[in-house]
């Protein structure tokens, strides 16, 4: 029997089915591993053993009774700390929510638990999901399990690292400008950002509501598809969740890729891309050609404007969403003589530097006299980027890009210049702006052994196509290029 730390969903279920291990023993095993590894990697911010063992006992009872098991029965799950979990501390990686225990569960969590998954705990992330390296967490950075002196990426670095380190079988992250895909790339695990509206945001503590999405990390693309099948679909509690039918993401995975048109945007391979990343992505494209994909050259002419427009819209929305953290309803309060003084001190001390920077920028771009020049301009650029994708998908079935222009960097290497950190999101931000789904899958490593990720974009609600291509790539040895 292989070690549970390497198990996929189907291996967990085979082990439970054949009574090789009980769900309770499995959870014990994962907590033992977490206890050992967490001091080094700082992946989990809170554990939820009471809830986990209660769920494990339910699964064990169902197995003992010979009941049919739900699709994710007994699967250990880690949840990013910006996603609400009833009674389990949820801090968003921020001091301003220290000790906060949500009174309800996010819909994605409810659906996964109803499908039998077991919530192990909450994972570290950049504060309020703002960052690309996890170094903006108020509780210290996560270390990359593949290379511990390197960052795991961000903002969902803890969720990516939990799967990469074998401290969960699957995990949930959130993606606003790349925060699922980029850490997936940095930690060497498949990481899926669904279409906007595909997965309910109910219970996701908002950063930028028109961009935020919940999606899975998993050991394999098939496992990511299994999680997607459970969390996708309309939720009456999220007015932006779509009623579009949810296809069976698993049934189409093994089809041939023959004749599929893959668009390669010339605009994505310009300056700023690391030579080793370029080499592995080009090798990945050749592998997809061998699998039957037809290479099509496409143009995405507004790509170069995406980061600037994104940082207008995302910070504007953040400045509004984060107004609720004021020391009245949750989190610690810094006393003040007046209500205003209390607000200002609580927020000034509760938020970290990156969050304050984005609140100031977002407030500025929305302030009187600047709205047209910044916010309205940003929305117009967003329309152009969405148009780039629509036009590209007339010529191509999927679009292939690098996930990140650079491999994982060292802790502390890029913290001095926020703008430089923002610019590294260029390949993921475009899809965020357009609302389309994208997955990052491992596509070889650098000469130093650092993971590289290849991104597959599909049209809105084309998750099945994205997963299909990613699965074929993975099966053909894409991760060992």
């Amino acid at each position: 029997m292989s070690a549970p730390a390497t198990w996929t969903i189907s291996e967990v279920q085979a082990a439970l089915d054949s009574r090789k291990i009980s769900a309770r023993e499995l959870i014990n095993e994962f907590y033992a591993r977490i206890e050992q590894a967490n001091p080094k990697f700082n992946i989990y911010l809170a554990l939820s053993p009471e809830r986990a063992f209660a769920q494990a006992d339910k699964i064990d009872a169902a197995i003992a009774a010979g009941d049919a098991l739900p699709p994710l029965a007994g699967v250990p799950l880690a949840v990013k700390d910006v996603i609400s979990t009833r009674g389990i501390p949820t801090t968003c990686g921020s001091r301003i929510l220290e000790g906060y225990k949500p009174p309800y569960d996010a819909t994605a969590v409810t659906r996964l638990e109803n499908a039998g998954a077991i919530v192990l705990g909450k994972t570290n992330c950049d504060e309020f999901a703002m960052g690309s390296s996890n170094e903006n967490s108020a509780y210290g950075p996560v270390r990359n399990p593949v290379a511990p002196d390197h960052v795991p990426g961000g903002s969902s670095g803890g969720s990516a690292a939990a799967v990469a380190a074998g401290l969960a079988v699957v995990s949930l992250g959130t993606d606003t400008g790349g925060s699922i895909r980029q850490p997936g790339s940095f930690c060497g695990v498949p990481a899926m950002n669904p279409s906007y509206g595909r997965v309910s945001r109910y219970g996701l503590i908002a950063y930028a509501s028109s961009l935020d999405r919940i999606g899975p990390f998993a050991r394999t693309v098939r496992d990511a598809a299994s999680v997607m099948s459970v969390i996708a679909g309309r939720d009456p509690r999220d007015a932006t969740s779509s009623g579009a039918a949810v296809p069976d993401y698993l049934s189409g995975l093994d089809r041939s890729l023959h004749g599929l048109r893959m668009g390669i945007p010339d605009d994505y391979f310009g300056e700023g891309i690391d030579p080793e990343v370029r080499e592995k992505i080009e090798a990945g494209i050749r592998l997809l050609e061998k699998l039957g994909c037809k290479r099509v050259s496409i143009r995405m002419p507004n790509t170069d404007y995406a980061i600037a427009a994104y940082y207008i819209l995302a910070t504007a929305e953040a400045s509004s969403n984060l107004a609720r953290f004021d020391g009245v309803r949750y989190g610690p309060r810094v006393p003040g003589a007046t209500l205003m003084e209390m607000y200002k001190k609580t927020r000034g001390r509760g938020f970290g530097p990156e969050v304050k920077r984005r609140i100031v920028l977002g407030t500025y771009v929305l302030s009187a006299g600047y709205y047209d020049a910044y916010y309205l301009k940003g929305q117009k650029i967003r329309a152009l980027i969405a148009r780039d994708f629509r036009e590209a998908f007339e010529k191509a079935d999927v679009i292939i890009t690098p996930t990140s222009p650079v491999p994982p960097f060292r802790l502390g290497e890029r913290t001095a210049n926020p703008l430089q950190m923002y610019l590294a999101d260029s390949y993921t931000v475009t899809g965020s702006m357009a609302g389309v789904p994208g997955i990052s899958i491992p596509s070889g490593k650098t000469s130093k052994g650092l993971p590289i990720g290849l991104q597959v974009y599909g049209p809105a609600f084309g998750e099945d196509r994205v997963l299909h291509v990613a699965h074929a790539f993975e099966r053909a040895g894409g991760s060992d290029l």
Binding site: G99, K101, P103, Y104, G197, S210, P236, A239, T240, S242, G243, A244, N302, D304, Y305, I307, A308, A309, Y311, D326, G327, V328, R329, Y330, G331, P332, R333, P335, G336, T338, L339, M340, E341, M342, Y343, K344, K345, R347, G348, R349, P353, R357, I359, V360, L361, T363, Y364, S367, Y374, K377, Q379, K380, I381, R382, A383, L384, P418, L419, G435, A460
Partner: protein, 99 residues
């Protein structure tokens, strides 16, 4: 220079954010860099472009209206437990109305 020290202070006041002198200076410089970078958007003519205000196109299926009915959550105790200064069933704040 796109943004002055006073601009940062004005915006911080709008956002109810207390900043130290050092923070004001750091953010002023960084926001100046970011706003200068954002200026690149002026290179593109968007006068005939409709702004994108929502991602999922509104249709009867995707933007349904629901009945406006009250649903009791019954979580007052849990909500107040998380507050820094609760006095059931209220949140207490510094005095805002003079006697």
């Amino acid at each position: 220079m796109k943004i002055s020290r006073d601009d940062v202070l004005k915006v911080a006041a709008l956002a109810n954010l207390e900043l130290t002198d050092a923070e004001v200076e750091t953010y002023r410089g960084q926001l100046d860099d970011i706003l200068t970078y954002i200026d690149k958007l002026n290179a593109i003519d968007t006068s005939s472009v409709e702004p994108m205000t929502q991602v999922v196109a509104a249709s009867a299926d995707d933007a349904p209206l629901r009945e406006d009915v009250v649903v009791r959550a019954d979580i007052i105790t849990e909500v107040l437990e998380g507050a820094p200064d609760p006095e059931a069933p209220y949140f207490r704040v510094p005095r805002v109305i003079e006697k």
